[in-house]
């Protein structure tokens, strides 16, 4: 098994990011990443182009989407499912996640304690607690690592692990554009070739760790 640095939460101009697909891939290369997941808000229309630029610059691009619902945000990685995000509610979210996972995707709870409505609608997780039983991973740290909300996320993640939930710890930069700050990465322990399915399997298996930089010091294992 070899660990590769990834950014699993990225946006482009296909939603509200400033990056074009090419700029995002180049930024990932400059950051020293092996791969990214493209998780534009409520659309996967940028996937094809980003995958092509990934091939050009040597960055593995995992197709994805961020269900930006009114009750919480979930990044869905793999590009296998086609759930209509407007149908996701607090009542049926578990069924929708199961649907995405049975199609072959991985579901990650994004920035669970982001400041929510009306500052960022759905930014804070308000889904029922049962959601933790059907997710593959949890953003234990998001955006700038020094944000106070990360203390709550890390604490909740560790509590969930203690309770026996099988959740991989991932970092999510929620990368819309470049600006100054302290950002981490998710390192993913991949068995075999570095490809989309092996990365998804590694997340499902919990082979992830959050480090302070590509190849850097582990923050959460």
């Amino acid at each position: 098994m070899k660990y590769y640095p990834f950014e699993l939460h990225c946006h482009t101009c296909h939603s509200d990011g400033s990056f074009t697909p090419e700029e995002l891939v180049k930024a990932a290369k400059e950051r020293g990443l092996a791969g990214i997941a493209l998780t534009d808000h409520n659309t996967a229309s940028g996937v094809e182009e980003t995958v092509e630029y990934g091939k050009k610059y040597g960055i593995l691009v995992i197709p994805g989407i961020e269900w930006t619902t009114f009750f919480g945000h979930i990044t869905v990685l793999g590009g296998h499912s086609a759930v209509n995000w407007t149908t996701v509610t607090a009542e049926n979210v578990i069924e929708k996640i199961k649907q995405a996972r049975s199609a072959g995707d991985v579901a990650v709870l994004a920035h669970p304690y982001r400041v929510g409505y009306p500052v960022c609608t759905g930014g804070m997780n308000e889904f029922p607690k049962e959601i933790f039983s059907v997710l593959d991973a949890y953003e234990a740290i998001s955006e700038d690592v020094n944000k106070p909300t990360n203390r709550r996320q890390t604490q909740e993640y560790l509590e969930l692990k203690r309770k026996g939930y099988r959740l991989a710890a991932v970092y999510g930069r929620d990368w819309h554009r470049n600006f100054e700050g302290d950002f981490a990465v998710t390192e993913i322990g991949v068995s075999g070739a570095l490809n989309i399915e092996n990365v998804l399997n590694a997340i499902r298996g919990g082979f992830t760790r959050i480090t302070n930089a590509p190849g850097g010091k582990p923050v959460i294992e």
Binding site: D40, N42, T43, F70, P118, V119, M124
Partner: protein
């Protein structure tokens, strides 16, 4: 040029966190549609804006973390935020998750605006979906689809 949909309306606080579906027909022989979608106001300057934002910080921050006034003020003014999606037969044909309140989208078989999937516009009933992510006061919208 043919107008397929032209409508205006109001979205109020009672519509918060709902999806408003507005049907329209695309007949045979349409290769491309252009959507003009706008709403106003975008910014919310109500007297309760600071306390609403502060309450959101309070819900997210650790209980022992002081909430600096300046940090909350950076989030002001608050925004109304209503996104546009296109849907047919329950399948989403794209979403424009943008913060701008004035938008023009084009959708055709070979090309589409960011957020939408290029596609052949088969005849039938389509839905303009307005997703009310944030509405802090009554908002007026205008929507026009032309071919």
């Amino acid at each position: 040029m043919k107008t397929l949909l032209k409508t205006e309306g109001r979205i109020g606080k009672e519509d918060l966190h709902t999806h408003i579906r507005i049907p329209f027909e695309i007949p045979e022989g349409i290769d491309e549609i252009t959507v003009h979608y706008s709403y106003a106001p975008k910014k919310y300057f109500g007297e309760d804006a600071f306390s609403l934002a502060y309450a959101a910080f309070k819900r997210s921050y650790p209980s022992d973390e002081p909430i600096q006034k300046a940090v909350v003020e950076r989030e002001l003014p608050l925004n109304n935020h209503i996104t546009f999606s296109l849907e047919k037969d329950g399948v989403l044909l794209g979403t424009a998750h943008r913060h701008s309140p004035d938008n023009v989208f084009k959708i055709a078989e070979k090309e589409a605006s960011y957020g939408f999937y290029p596609q052949k516009l088969t005849p039938g009933t389509y839905f303009a979906v307005l997703s009310v992510h944030a509405v802090l006061e009554t908002v007026e919208y205008s929507l026009e689809v032309i071919s």
